[in-house]
Symmetry: C3
């Protein structure tokens, strides 16, 4: 059983040859037809599943799927009657084939009569502007975009081709590349939290006159916030992805392909290299640098620079190995009686 | 003094007999009239207050309320002229009576002329569709619902009777039961954070083709996010309540009556039993199981299964008693001088 | 190079005399004209920069700015040809002058034809109501306000003069002073998380019949949430500023000029004095009191009252000095071998 057709009608059926091509494989029986992807447990004889790792091996042995992407090591566990499609990256193959059956919805070109589009805005060919969307003066929207219901593209913004603003997303003071996605309620280009407090406690706003620059393929999750630069720009590098409810302060810069998981927050002017991973609910203070491929653990509180390819965890954050050792020590101490011996359940 | 009548005009006056019935009590002077509920400090002679616990005992002794819900133990502290309504659950009695004076606003049936409703959407009897709301193709909305201003019900969604979407809430790819509430800006049915990263660092989206299933009486707070399943469903069981700014990842499942407090986050495929409580700003990693009636403390970071009826706190989370012991030990150590003796303020 | 004129066209040019007046300085060559503010690195000969602290001293020595706000101590490092504007508060002077070149956008008076404004709402002179905004029955909006696209002012609300609701902000059950700002997607006046759980696990809503009171100059960040009182009011004192994604529970009260940074959360009925600072991702339990000028560190978890002018950090939060000592001790222990000696990289 594949996806609910009310929401996700599958394309197809699709021939195995096309499926194999998407997955980078070659097959014998290329004309065999498949109707959808599904999980090992739910797939039927015309559907395709996958196994990554070993956790789901029992499900593999009992699957009724017509075919399954597996590693060479797991191929022997594929049951009779199920076609083993052997690949080093089964989940990646699955993702690419799933996208054949369930491509992103194409834009339905045109401007909804309830949308408010500035006369001098430029809307690319084949772009869809949804109900109650608002497009500001001088905005430029590329070809093949979808501007969802009640989404906003502010005055002067540039949005590259193939981009999507989902329902109620807003973009202001922003220059965005191609294939950018803003999920529901994402806020891009807001005023940063910039003010000077006088000796009498009055907060005097520092005008925030920078922009947000989003590289090609940047995706921003639901209800996340990306503040514009105070002066100069906030920059998210190409392919960077933010999950939901993430906070990005003014003048933050990320490199390529960074991943920032739900509810993490990055304070002003922090700089991330390429392929940095910030796990959920982590926080970074401002004006620090995180090296390429560094990884910050969930709920970590990062107060200093992190070298490239380094994992840090904890609040305040330390290198992962030392932190785990410290926590083990603390656990051991907590189990120590007053006479110095240990006892009881630790 | 009760609520500000500009926002909350009280029904009534209401006879004591009806009040007692709502609270599950019997009274003598059933025809006496009351005009509203209020706090012990603010209630006047036609208003009803309550005392739960002992913290507000001084306020009880000085209250000018006409009547007060109290436990048997506190009845002797009710001042002369104030009617003691004795019950084992004073605050619950108060809640039920407050709802007599301040029932949830009823829908004003009809579709606002600025709303955009798909021709094949089915709208139940007595349902209100507010200004600029958007109802997608094939959506089914039950009777007696309120769809607030600028709220969105996506194509194919099902929303049970008596449900409420407040201002700018959005629901997509979702099947919801009766009496469901989405607060302002809540996001349900967003694409989950699902992708595979290739060896060159490219993030390849895994199509997210599952749904969100909301049980009867589920309530979701302002600006909270509930991602749809990657394949299969994200499920919130009947009576589950989410506070504001909560994140629920794809394929999370909760049982009945769970409570998830503000800014908590639950990663993909975690499963909660019935009546689990997740306190504010706590985080759960994916693919773990939390047993019935377990409780997770504020800011806890849960990385492993939690058995039923167990309290855990801390990040990483431990059983509460051990964590508190560890923290006490650490505090003691911090107060230890280099020569091994302790001194100074701990 | 100043700000991108697509988004932030500078006023001006502006004479040095006016600039000096805004900064509280006196100058000789008052007729000299300047065109914008910019950073030390980017400013050109008709632009003004500033130096605060010593970190950017190298940039000062190489700046091409026409003038620079500096402290007396740094004046000797201002390069030849650049005018040194000496002040004790260079960044504050910069902020005030930046606001000359980049004043907040003025309202464009009038009601957009797609806005839905209740017939009995009162709209002040010179106020702008944007596309698809919704103004409820009996609302009162002061003079010179901007109600952005798709923003909502609920029935009965009062909003003081010079206030701004940015795109998709919503305000309900709220009485707000002058110069209040709600950023994109901010939610004010939502129902608080108030319910009683019965012995069978049913959650019974306690009607939330209080309001939100916002003092003059309160600013609330993007996608932040401020719940209304359960009974009585939630109050944010004059000049209090909230960053993005902040959660304020029902009946919280703050004094004047508090600062609450991104993703922090304050539970119900907590009370903050004047000029309290709550750093990012910190959490406060309900019903506690935080004294004037106390400061709560990032990610702290505050479970008890905090005296005035006290800094606390950590979760659970302790006074800052003791917490740092405890962490140092833990780090030292983690580096201790089993035989009691220390060794290896700490």
């Amino acid at each position: 059983m594949g996806a609910d057709p009310r929401f996700f009608p599958a394309q197809g059926p699709i021939a195995l040859s096309a499926i194999a091509m998407a997955a980078g494989l070659s097959v014998d029986d290329g004309e065999r037809l498949f109707t959808d992807v599904a999980s090992l447990a739910e797939a039927g004889p015309t559907e395709i599943a996958f196994l990554e790792g070993r956790r789901m091996l029992p499900a593999l042995r009992e699957t009724r799927a017509g075919a399954v992407f597996v590693s060479a090591a797991a191929a022997k566990d594929v049951p009779a009657g199920c076609l083993a499609l052997v690949t080093e990256t089964p989940q990646l193959a699955y993702a690419r084939v799933a996208a054949l059956f369930h491509p992103s919805p194409a834009p339905v070109p045109g401007i909804h009569p309830t949308a408010v589009v500035a006369p001098d805005a430029r809307i690319g060919e084949g772009t869809e502007i949804g109900p109650h969307a608002v497009i500001g003066a001088g905005a430029e929207i590329g070809a093949g975009c979808i501007i969802g219901p009640q989404a906003i593209v502010g005055a002067g913004c540039v949005l590259g081709p193939g981009s999507v603003l989902r329902a109620q997303a807003s973009m202001e003071h922003c220059i965005a590349g191609a294939r950018v996605v803003l999920a529901q309620g994402a806020r891009v280009g807001n005023e940063g939290f910039g003010f000077i407090t006088t000796s009498t406690g009055e907060h005097v706003t520092v005008p925030q006159v920078g922009r947000v620059i989003l590289g090609d393929g940047v995706e921003i999750g639901a209800n996340s916030c990306v503040d514009r630069g105070a002066g100069g720009d906030t920059v998210l590098g190409p392919g960077t992805r933010l999950d939901n409810l993430v906070q990005i302060g003014h003048n933050v810069k990320t490199g390529r392909g960074c991943v920032i998981v739900a509810q993490a927050g990055i304070a002003g002017s922090a700089e991330l290299g390429d392929f940095v991973v910030i796990a959920a609910q982590a926080g970074l203070v401002g004006h620090i640098t995180i090296g390429d491929k560094a990884r910050v653990g969930a709920q970590a509180g990062v107060m200093n620079d992190v070298p490239a390819a380094t994992d840090v965890v904890g609040s305040p954050a330390w290198p992962a190995r030392e932190t785990l050792r410290a926590f083990a020590k603390l656990r051991q101490l907590a189990a120590t009686k007053r006479d110095g011996t240990s006892g009881g359940t630790p």
